[in-house]
């Protein structure tokens, strides 16, 4: 009985300590989220510098949110149509991602460096939620960390309606780039 108790205590202590060591959450409100698509007639690209992101390395969970209206286009009319007709940002003001690093063992938190990881989770755009999987890079550098990712989504997966007259102007897939410098969340 005594040994069991000691074991239990040790176990819980180890668990507690290990959690404490790794219970590190990082965040940013200035993640750069941009997208790019190229069709024969029209190149569409926009950038948003105000993505919010929190990553919890204890649970390997991460969350991103970005305001659709904050995407900046070179062409003002394109920006208006993006909000009004395609993304309907008055109805769906945000795009979000909730996911998890599936191979956290590749990251050595104690050493500065770049670590390639795989992230899986739910991407919600235009009110439609889809399971996605994307490659990402986590850069450990001193106090902060940097996250990078590039992946593609299909416009039709998110119920974004493209009228026949402009179908040739709009690409069917869009490449999304994420770049965030995160600092520890206290």
């Amino acid at each position: 009985m005594k040994t069991i108790t000691i074991l239990c205590t040790l176990l819980s202590l180890i668990l507690f300590l290990s959690i404490d060591m790794q219970a590190q959450k990082y965040f940013t409100r200035e993640a750069k989220i941009s997208f790019f698509s190229e069709a024969p007639l029209e190149k569409i690209e926009a950038e948003n510098g105000a993505g919010t992101c929190v990553i919890d390395f204890e649970s390997q969970q991460m969350e991103f949110a970005v305001l659709i209206k904050a995407f900046q286009f070179d062409k003002a009319l394109m920006q208006e149509h993006f909000n009004e007709n395609y993304m309907e940002s008055h109805k769906f003001p945000k795009a979000t991602f909730k996911g998890k690093i599936v191979d956290p063992e590749t990251i050595d938190y104690t050493k500065n460096g770049e670590y390639e990881v795989k992230v899986e989770g739910k991407l919600t755009i235009h009110g439609v939620e889809n399971e996605i999987s994307a490659p990402g890079t986590i850069v450990i550098k001193g106090e902060g960390i940097q996250v990078k990712s590039k992946f593609s989504v299909a416009v039709k997966d998110y119920d974004i309606d493209i009228p026949a007259v402009v179908r040739d102007n709009i690409a069917k897939t869009v490449e999304i780039t994420v770049l965030g410098d995160l600092e520890p969340l206290k």
Binding site: C8, S12, S59, Q72, D74, L77, E84, V166
Partner: protein
């Protein structure tokens, strides 16, 4: 003692698992509220003839071709107006986000016009709340037709017309926008003494969005009585906006022939009840000349 230790260890395990946050973003606390400006209250910077509360965006050149056929009551011989045409070719440019200029030439009375439009207030919600958009508009028109009586002494200033407008409007919902424009038209030369040099009018315009890309527009301009001579009517226009990518097509029926303020406000002769209306269209194509962000 043992029991306490077991309980404690259990508690630790429980606490540690409970730490797995369900909603990480909520850890950042309340988000800072942003200002959300109303966009696309009208599809274009014109409702039909009237200027809408919209501005041409900074760095954007908007080429407009506006066309009115003849009057529908002109009958078969004129193919119900399709044989005749009145046209205005113009260009608008957004100098800044809130200031735009424009220029045009109309075949009707061979008139040149130029205007300035400045948005003073912009409808917004969120961090900064503003219930309406308010813009100031001033235009000048130069009538180019030859003098009816070249023998008498004619002055260039007699060709000039000025219009000043305050445009106040609100996008009430995604589908409905309404605006009011108190207007003053000044005419340097009028035909008879009974006509006013300064004509006061109140213009109203509304938009009802039918689908994502099609909207129904109406505008009506009330001219206060005893300013114009008999035979001039208030301008009433009804039309649809059809938007395709970089173009906006505006198709409409209107009892006004002219497409500039001094004309459609003070010189409308068509009578809706007698079929005195024109079918017409405006086509707008925008070009991004300069990208302010870069």
């Amino acid at each position: 003692m043992h029991k306490i230790l077991i309980l404690l260890s259990l508690a630790f395990v429980l606490i540690s698992t409970a730490q797995g946050q369900d909603d990480l973003l909520s850890l950042l606390g309340e988000e800072e509220e942003t200002t959300d400006y109303a966009i696309a209250s009208f599809k274009a910077n014109r409702v039909i003839n009237l200027h809408s509360l919209e501005n041409t965006s900074h760095g954007v050149l908007d080429i407009k071709i506006s066309h009115r056929f003849g009057m529908i009551n002109s009958g078969w011989y004129e193919m119900f107006g399709l044989d005749a045409a009145s046209i205005r070719i113009g260009a608008d440019y957004g100098v800044t986000e809130n200031f735009m200029v424009g220029f045009g030439r109309s075949s009707f009375e061979k008139t040149y016009d130029g205007f300035l439009k400045y948005r003073v207030l912009r409808q917004s919600s969120g961090a900064k709340v503003m219930p309406v958009t308010l813009a100031l508009f001033s235009s000048m028109a130069v009538k180019g037709t030859r003098w009816p009586d070249p023998a008498r002494e004619n002055y260039f200033t007699s060709r000039l017309y000025y219009t000043h407008q305050i445009i106040v409007g609100r996008k009430f919902s995604e589908s409905f926008s309404l605006q009011l424009s108190p207007t003053l038209v000044h005419r340097n030369l009028v035909e008879t003494e009974a006509e006013a040099h300064d004509v006061f009018a109140l213009a109203t315009a509304a938009r009802l969005k039918l689908t994502k890309r099609i909207a129904l527009n109406t505008e009506y301009i009330y001219v206060a009585p005893n300013q114009l001579s008999e035979g001039y009517k208030n301008s009433l226009s009804i039309g649809v906006d059809i938007e395709t990518g970089g173009h906006v097509f505006q198709l409409h029926f209107t009892n006004s022939t002219s497409m500039i303020e001094k004309g459609f406000i003070t010189e409308t002769t068509g009578d809706w009840t007698g079929g005195g209306i024109h079918f017409g269209f405006n086509v707008s194509r925008v070009f991004t000349v300069h990208s302010p962000g870069n």
